[in-house]
Amino acid sequence: MADTWADRLSRKAGYDERSAAILILPVFVVLMVVALYPIIYSFYTSLFDIVLTRPWRRPFVGFGNYARIFQDPMFWVAVQRTTVYTVVTVSITTVFALFVALLLNEAFPGRRLLSALILLPWATPSIVNGLMWKWIYDPGYGLLNGILVQIGLLESYTVWLGNPDRTLFMIANAAIWKQMPLAAILLLVSMKAIPQDLYRAATVDGANVFQRFWHVTLPALKPGLMLVLVYETMISIRHFDLFLIMTQGGPGDASYTLSWQIYVETFRNLKFGIGAALSYLLAIATFVLSYLFIRGFGSKS
């Protein structure tokens, strides 16, 4: 019974297409309402001069919002802060993750326990991550000051997050703590995919540990490294949670990044047009950077 029923259905022209449409429909309905429509609406908004404190006049300005952003000195401050934060976070995360992956690629007792343990930061909610480090950095009672003074590296308690020269690096450190594990796992997986024969051949040829790492591991890791770089860049360049919970863009404008500027323009200054245009600039930057990474790595291999 079932056979003939299914056969008949299958033979009917368009069964595949109809099934596919039904199976994919729920996702499209959700994405349409919650993602695609807002994306398009947001672009539309970016072409108007919408200020919520002046609701009666919202003239069409075309790309005027974008032009105004480029003339705003705070935008360039934000670009600079975002660049520093992203470069520091992505580079340290990647190098650190590479070392951790090399360690976890070795066979030793406790390795499985260790690789489960490094998921701890990954699973930590970013808000808790933020408050945890804020408390560690606390100028009066924090652990960082406590340890550094106790072991004699510091003479007296000092200000960490509240010092404009340090803020971005302090926030980056919290971000690296959370982002390193996933990067390490991704690199570890690509490492495990390298054929052992390559190492044996290199050893027979007289290559030492460092030569094997440089000539065998690193080239084979290129796709994995590219993935990590793209992923970490996308996460860091638009990161928001830590900036809200730890510094709110401060002290002064020391951690005034692009995502923080979007938040301020949209929700504090209520300039929806400018906020939307800024978001689009950030999206384009993300897109271009990912493309460049993929191109750069692709051409060498």
């Binding site: 056979d3 595949d16 994919i24 919650v34 609406y41 951790v100 360690l103 540990v209 993935l227 939307a276």
Partner: protein
């Protein structure tokens, strides 16, 4: 790499050199493992330790690494809040754990914990249902336009979340869904679904197509092929998807901040961030709230570590 050298085994000198190298290797691995454990677990241990200390103990200089006197007063204040009839006496008494100050809104933690659980569970289940059907359609049924469908789904993750918030808020207000958990569930579905579909597609594509042909030849409908062939063979990816969806919605902050403004729908991160930004709240209490928020995701991640790693990296291995 732990590949043994092929030469130099014969002489005594060679052997002792090898023993020395083995010892060195074990030493290096031990030292780096310990450093890694301290780096990863240290901050969280300090979070837990200071959540068990009273206000006077956490403000000690130098800091107490371990609680000199363990107190559960913070957790008691959260899980068994005292009657908050405000009289002159209760005002004066306050709560000893939080420096005689229980933050206003402490009683909101428990409902928000429940909200986080409810939203997380709903997202985990719905995400799996809609993603597996869509992934099956794209990976298995060779219909026209499957590439376009996939790219449309993936491109929704390129725009920063913060760009979507204003239009999303307007949509939700139009649908009368602001301040509901349902709004969060739908939003987090859109956030998690693209990645889940990507993972499931790469898993489904590794399953031999002959199994699919055989199932269809035996008269299976597409639904049956998915149910009896593809799902049983991709268990790690399914578990990873559920975990990923739950953890993402448990941890999400910025959407919940804008879409929910009262305790009927606010999740744990929103309530906690309120404490952090209120300068009068003791860090002893804030840390206790942080511990509560950290426990469920960490327990899940540890329990399902194997599945999470193999599932999350399924798409990455292909390069």
């Amino acid at each position: 790499m732990s590949v043994e050298p092929v030469t130099g085994m014969a002489s005594d000198g060679g052997r002792s050199a090898m023993m020395w190298r083995r010892g060195l290797r074990a030493l290096i691995i031990t030292v780096f493992s310990l450093l890694l454990v301290i780096y990863v677990a240290g901050p969280v241990a300090w979070l837990v330790s200071s959540s068990l200390q009273s206000e006077s103990d956490i403000t000690a200089v130098p800091p107490n690494w371990l609680p000199p006197k363990v107190t559960f007063d913070n957790f008691e204040a959260i899980f068994a809040p005292p009657k908050r009839e405000v009289t002159y006496e209760t005002r004066r008494q306050g709560d000893p754990a939080t420096g005689r100050f229980l933050p206003s809104g402490a009683e909101n933690l428990l409902p928000s914990l429940w909200n986080s659980f409810a939203v997380g569970m709903a997202v985990a289940i719905l995400n799996l249902v809609v993603s597996m059907t869509a992934a099956y359609a794209i990976a298995v049924i060779h219909f026209k336009g499957r590439r376009a469908a996939l790219y449309t789904i993936l491109v929704t993750r390129v725009i920063p979340d913060i760009a979507l918030i204003v239009p999303l808020f307007l949509v939700m207000r139009q649908l009368d869904l602001v301040n509901t958990r349902f709004a969060l569930v739908v939003t987090y579905l859109a956030v998690t679904v693209p990645f889940t579909i990507f993972i499931l597609i790469s898993y489904f594509e590794q399953i031999p197509r002959d199994l699919y042909r055989a199932a269809r030849a035996d008269g299976c409908s597409h639904w049956q092929a998915l149910r009896f062939v593809y799902l049983p063979l991709s268990l790690p990816a399914l578990v990873a998807s559920v975990m990923f969806a739950f953890l993402t919605s448990w941890n999400e902050f910025i959407f919940a901040l804008i879409l929910t403004q009262n305790i009927t729908s606010q999740t744990l991160p929103i309530i906690i961030s309120g404490f952090v930004m209120d300068f009068t709240t003791s860090f002893s209490f804030i840390n206790a709230a942080g511990v509560i928020a950290i426990v469920p995701p960490v327990v899940l991640a540890m329990m399902f570590e194997r599945y999470i790693v193999s599932g999350l990296t399924a798409g990455a291995v292909k390069g």
